[in-house]
């Protein structure tokens, strides 16, 4: 940088020094000497004084804030001037940077239009920073980078720049998303742009990628006519500007997307609204139609009288459909004619008639007739309607309810012609009216049947509550007597033993022996009962004194017998009585038949219910007796055992005075025996729990090895007493299982005790525990007497004792293995036995590693183990 200045200084000093040395050693002409000084002074002024003065000027004007150095001054200040100028320029730019950034941030946040932002930014750079040229390049849709806007560049330049990403410095800045600074354009000679750069006088430049959402969208380019113009601060400022631009572009994109979305939404809303309006209109007209239809139907529903119904419907139809003539042509089956109703009263049309008739055709073919110009029709019936009834337009619709029943005829629409919409709507009305007419026609029969049904329903309702047989019989009697209009009734039911027909009604005879009839007797009643059919009879001669008397005193003249059957079995007989002869006609028989099945079911229901209730109560009582018994037994047995155990303990521990060794030994046996007795009581309780399904598990995650160790500890005395060689082979890192700790202890305890029992003195017992697939397999092996093959399965049954002379020595309830099996199975495992008589047995069982189904129950404390509750 200072090279030029230094060179000149050194050169000058050297010349002076050479001259002085020269002058000192040689005699120099004084004129030359002075001339030389003059030259020195001139040179001094030219190369030292003048530049210093101009630089001083520049500095002082720069200090005053004026950075615009004039070209002529620059030339006079020489190279140093240029350097200073560069420095001052940068100083100026960086001073402006803050203002520019502030202005830019404001601009960008307040503008949405991307063009505005771009122009503002370029103006800032071009005018405020006084950079000769700048441009913004965006990636176009065709994948080429083009200048979107620029300042200080010729049109030629702008037009000619189109680069692919990666091509040239601009392309590279774009692809790499990194800023590229070129300090000396003449050195780089970028082949794509060098010529144009040269033409534009660009000496250094920066390309800054514009990155939106991690994606380059363009390049911000700033040029300078000075080499090495772009220092770090300036580049940072420009990058920030590029960032602002990116933000603006991002915002703009978002805004555009939002606008686009809004536009689409608006369009959608618009179209939906239109659709809704249309649907609404359709719905409104539909609702109107429905309402009209409803009005018509509703007006007629209450009328069961046909004429009244026609009148109401016709009134309504006229109102709703705006016609002046409305009526029906109803088919008369007997005369084979269509008879006019409503406005067509008096109009009759014989169907057998040979004369052509449109209405007859319409009725026979079940087709609709519609015409708005009746005078055009030549058919005589239509002509008559036109002439006599003044009908000019008409719709005739067939009324069909299973079969054609007539025509629905409307004429003279008040507003306009009959349209297809009218036809559609009136067809619906017609189908409804057909139903109404049919209904009105069958009303008479219906009314009859409704009564019957009401009776049946009444009967059914009586069983909704708890069926008590006597109450039910009374209610049934009340309902049936009234329904059949009889004066009296007697009900018999077969008793539980199936021997007698026992009277249940009337109450004064209920259960009385005088009215009881043996099923096997030859009495008339039993015959009717056995026949199982509803039948009537007038005064009868019964082989029953009481009944004959009753018949006489009450003046009974006729009977209706209704046998009760359930699933083909005769269960009883109802007898209805009347004081009139032949009172029970076909209608009554029909109703009685209808009632018989239902009544029988109700009676049987009540009987079964009563029976079950009795049985249930008995079972409950027995169960409670059993539970009480088990509780009682355990209590009664354990209470004295408590005293025995306790006092033995006290004496054994010499808390009640010293005892000798023999006494100690005997008392130990008492202690062990009472433990055994307690154990047996426990087994009995367990059995009762298993049988009543009350046994449940309290599963927890547990370590089997831990359970086994505790079990062995419990049995250690017996093992030692028999001098048994005891081995444990338990897999290390045995996975935990879900199990009931105390119940599993019980399993191991039982199996170990069992093994000890059946092993001779000095024998061997081995416990092996290892993983086997999803299970853990435990085996307890002894080399005792063994068990024969036939007994391998039975041994796990309750109360099973191995039938061998050896076993009697050891004794037991025969419950232990049954309980063991139950516990193992409750855990989801199974147990089996391998044994050869004479060489020992192996009991093996599987327990699943993870038990999925969790069972729960309360705490099961073992003897002498108190579960403590939390105490505050």
């Amino acid at each position: 940088m200072k090279k030029g200045f230094n060179f000149r200084l050194i050169f000058f000093i050297t010349v002076v020094a050479v001259f002085l040395i020269f002058a000192k050693f040689t005699a120099v002409n004084p004129i030359i000497y002075y001339l030389f000084f003059v030259v020195i002074i001139i040179f001094g002024y030219m190369f030292i004084f003048r530049p210093v003065v101009f630089i001083e000027k520049m500095v002082s004007s720069a200090v005053n804030g004026d950075y615009s150095i004039k070209k002529d001054i620059l030339g006079k200040a020489g190279r140093l001037g240029e350097e200073l100028n560069l420095l001052f320029n940068r100083q100026m730019v960086s001073q402006e940077s803050l203002n520019i950034l502030f202005a830019a941030s404001k601009t960008i946040t307040s503008r949405i239009e991307i063009d505005d932002v771009v122009n503002m930014l370029l103006d800032l750079v071009h005018q405020k920073m006084m950079l000769p040229s700048t441009s913004i390049v965006f990636l176009d849709d065709d994948g080429l980078l083009r200048i979107k806007a620029s300042r200080g560049l010729t049109d030629d330049f702008v037009r000619n720049i189109h680069l692919r990403p990666g091509e040239g410095f601009v392309g590279r800045a774009f692809s790499s998303k990194e800023t590229i600074i070129i300090n000396d354009a003449t050195k780089e000679k970028n082949p794509e742009t060098f010529k144009i750069e040269e033409k534009e006088g660009i000496m250094s430049y920066v390309h800054i990628p514009i990155i939106v959402n991690d994606k380059a969208i363009g390049v911000f380019n700033v040029n300078s006519r000075t080499k090495r113009f772009f220092d770090t601060n300036l580049v940072k400022t420009l990058i920030t500007l590029a960032d602002y631009l990116a933000v603006a572009v991002g915002n703009s994109k978002m805004y555009q997307e939002m606008q686009e979305f809004n536009r689409r939404l608006e369009l959608e809303v618009e179209s939906t609204t239109e659709e809704l309006t249309n649907t609404n209109l359709r719905l409104i007209s539909k609702v109107k139609e429905m309402k009209a239809l409803n009005d018509i139907i509703f007006s007629a529903t209450g009328k069961f009288n046909i004429d009244e119904m026609f009148a109401t419907v016709i009134d309504k139809i006229k109102f709703v459909t705006s016609v002046s003539i409305a009526g029906f042509m109803i088919y008369d089956e007997q005369n084979d004619t269509l008879v006019g109703v409503g406005d067509f009263k008096g109009f009759e049309l014989a169907l057998s008639d040979e004369t052509p008739s449109i209405l007859a055709k319409s009725f026979k073919n079940v087709s609709t007739f519609i015409s708005n110009e009746l005078f055009m029709e030549s058919s005589p019936d239509i002509q008559r309607l036109y002439k006599d009834y003044g009908a000019t337009s008409m719709i005739a619709l067939p009324l069909v309810e299973k079969k054609p029943i007539g025509l629905f005829v409307l004429g003279n629409k008040v507003t306009g012609k009959f349209s297809h919409d009218d036809l559609r709507f009136l067809s619906v009305v017609a189908s409804q009216i057909a139903g109404l007419i049919d209904r009105a026609k069958i009303y008479e029969q219906l009314a009859q049947r409704v009564n019957d049904l009401l009776t049946l329903r009444d009967i059914s309702n009586t069983i909704k509550t708890e069926p008590q047989l006597d109450e039910i019989i009374e209610v049934l009697a009340d309902k049936t007597i009234r329904a059949l209009e009889s004066d009296y009734a007697i009900f018999w039911l077969v008793d539980d033993e199936g021997e007698n027909l026992t009277p249940l009604f009337p109450p004064e005879y209920a259960g009385k022996d005088i009215m009881k009839i043996p099923v096997k007797s030859e009495a008339l009643i039993t015959k009717i009962f056995a026949a199982g059919k509803v039948q009537t009879a007038n005064a009868l001669e019964f082989q029953n004194e009481a009944y004959n008397k009753l018949q006489e005193t009450s003046g009974i003249k006729s009977h209706l017998f209704v046998p009760l059957k359930v699933e083909g079995k005769n269960i009883g007989l109802f007898c209805f009585c009347s004081k009139s002869q032949n009172f029970f006609n076909d209608d009554k028989i029909r109703l009685a038949e209808l009632m018989a099945g239902q009544t029988a079911a109700i009676v049987e229901n009540a009987r079964i219910h009563n029976h079950l209730k009795k049985v249930n109560a008995e079972l409950e009582r027995l169960n409670s007796v059993k539970n009480d018994f088990v509780s009682m037994v355990s209590h009664e047995l354990r209470t004295p055992l408590t005293a025995i155990k306790g006092f033995v303990h006290v004496v054994l521990n010499e808390e009640a005075g010293k005892i000798n060794e023999q006494q100690k030994k005997f008392l130990s046996i008492v202690d062990q025996s009472s433990n055994h007795l307690n154990h047996l009581i426990g087994d009995l309780l367990d059995l009762s729990k298993i049988e009543s399904g009350l046994i449940t598990l309290k599963p927890e995650q547990l370590d089997l090895a831990d359970v086994i160790r505790k079990s062995v500890e419990t049995n250690i005395n017996q093992i030692k007493n028999k001098d048994i060689e005891f081995q444990m082979e338990i897999d290390k890192e045995l996975p935990k299982i879900n199990g009931d700790h105390s119940r599993l202890m019980q399993v191991y305890n039982n199996l170990i005790a069992n093994a000890v029992k059946f092993t001779d003195l000095g024998g061997q017992i081995t416990i092996t525990v290892k993983e086997k697939g999803d299970f853990i397999c435990s085996s307890i092996t002894d080399n005792g007497i063994g068990i024969s093959k036939e007994e391998h399965k039975k041994i796990f049954d309750k109360f099973y004792q191995v039938d061998s002379t050896h076993t009697r020595i050891v004794g037991g309830t025969g419950l232990g293995l049954f309980i063991v099996r139950t516990i193992v199975e409750l855990h989801g495992g199974n147990i089996w036995l391998d044994s050869t008589p004479g060489s020992g047995s192996t009991f093996s069982f599987l327990l699943p590693k993870i038990k999925k189904k969790r069972l729960s129950t309360g705490d099961i404390p073992q003897a002498g183990q108190a579960p403590f509750t939390e105490k505050n």
């Binding site: 509780s631 355990s634 209590h635 009664e636 047995l637 354990r638 209470t639 004295p640 055992l641 408590t642 005293a643 025995i644 155990k645 306790g646 006092f647 303990h649 006290v650 808390e655 009640a656 009472s674 307690n678 426990g682 309780l685 729990k689 009350l694 449940t696 129950t857 309360g858 705490d859 099961i860 404390p861 073992q862 003897a863 002498g864 183990q865 108190a866 579960p867 403590f868 509750t869 105490k871």
Partner: protein, 130 residues
């Protein structure tokens, strides 16, 4: 052990079985507890209010008033509500034990008990209760 803060801990045993009461009296006295016995529920409640024991041993199956009722009554009375109660019963079924614990007792020991276990349980409760 039986000492609690320098004084002898008082235990009230309520059981209708005289032999059991004799055993508890002898055994616990041997282990330095001051034992009072009551042979029925009514007497037991009365004595509990009189002597304010440090622990009550309570049988379940007793005539007239059973142990569950006694426990509930003792808990309902403000004076005796905080006395630890340990059931000592021959009833061992889950429901029966649950019934005992639900009545407000602090523990449940099934007869016949291991005397050493009974001692441990008593010690624990007297400690907490004291």
């Amino acid at each position: 052990m039986a000492k609690n803060g320098g004084t002898v801990s008082k235990i009230l045993a309520i059981d209708d079985d005289n032999t059991t009461l004799q055993l508890l009296d002898f055994f616990l006295t041997k282990h330095k507890y001051e034992v009072t016995v009551a042979s029925n529920g009514v007497d037991g409640i009365k004595k509990a209010q009189e002597i304010m024991p440090d622990l009550i041993l309570l049988d379940v199956m007793m005539p007239n008033m059973d142990g569950i009722d006694v426990c509930k009554k003792l808990r309902a009375d403000e004076k005796t509500a905080k006395i630890p109660i340990l059931f000592l019963s021959a009833l061992s079924q889950d429901v029966e034990v649950m019934r005992g614990l639900m009545a407000g007792s602090d523990g449940y020991i099934v007869k016949p008990f291991e005397p050493d276990n009974l001692l441990k349980s008593i010690e624990k409760l007297v400690e907490i209760g004291g």
